[in-house]
């Protein structure tokens, strides 16, 4: 796991102390680890760690549904 993705994972775990770990394929939305309010803060975090601006109004849920998806879309995706 990249350092950036680990920081994202740590951010979520810090806000959900009842959880010890988050598997890469766990649905963050269905499990209420990210909701509309935390989403704004989460995007802020992703922008900081990916170095890319994110358009909140057009971002689709599937892009951040799991840690695996976040890794693929923000930390491993080719920036064009």
């Amino acid at each position: 796991m990249s350092e950036a993705l680990q920081q994202v994972k740590d951010w979520i775990l810090k806000r959900h102390p009842d959880r010890e770990d988050i598997p890469g394929d766990l649905d963050l939305i269905e499990n209420r680890l990210i909701d509309s309010l935390s989403f704004v803060e989460f995007v802020f975090l992703l922008e900081q760690h990916s170095g890319r601006p994110i358009e909140m109004e057009t971002l689709e849920v599937d892009a951040i549904r799991t840690l695996d998806a976040i890794d693929a879309n923000f930390f491993r995706a080719e920036v064009k």
């Binding site: 509309s36 704004v40 803060e41 802020f44 909140m56 109004e57 689709e60």
Partner: protein, 145 residues
């Protein structure tokens, strides 16, 4: 464009209510951690101005605005999208009640659902703000196939 679910029991005149609750504790933490500028991602300058009193940003008003936006978004029943915060604008009318304005992506989502407008009501008490929203439906024959 994300697929749109079919409302169970839906039909002409069918409308979906939306409701939301926001904790002052959560919003206070956001304010303390990131400052007022953070909320510019969620509210436009006019909305933020509506939330100010002579002593600064009023947390309950802010929570009420946030709850109203979420409640309004829930009436749209959109799958696969997050709340387009700055495209659902909630302003205070001259009479004091909240008015919803749908912009850009929110206006498109509403149009696809046959919704012409959304009405909201906000209430708060000490630690929480709640909002309920109801869509105003246009002519069902105007719906896209």
């Amino acid at each position: 464009m994300p697929a749109r679910p079919t409302a169970a029991g839906g039909g002409p005149g069918w409308a979906n209510l939306g409701m939301d609750i926001v904790s002052v504790k959560r919003v206070r933490r956001l304010l303390e951690d990131h400052g007022e500028g953070f909320f510019e991602r969620m509210l436009d300058p006019g909305e933020l101005a509506d939330c100010r009193t002579s002593s600064g940003l009023d947390l309950l008003s802010l929570c009420g605005r946030i709850a109203a936006k979420e409640a309004a978004f829930k009436t749209l029943r959109v799958r696969g999208r997050f709340l387009p915060w700055r495209d659902i604008v909630v302003r205070r009318s001259d009479g004091g009640w909240p008015l919803v304005e749908l912009r850009r992506s929110a206006a498109d989502m509403a149009a696809q659902s046959g919704i012409t407008d959304i009405t909201v009501s906000i209430s708060h008490d000490v630690d929480y703000a709640v909002a309920v929203a109801a869509p105003i439906l246009g002519d069902p024959s105007g719906l896209r196939p």
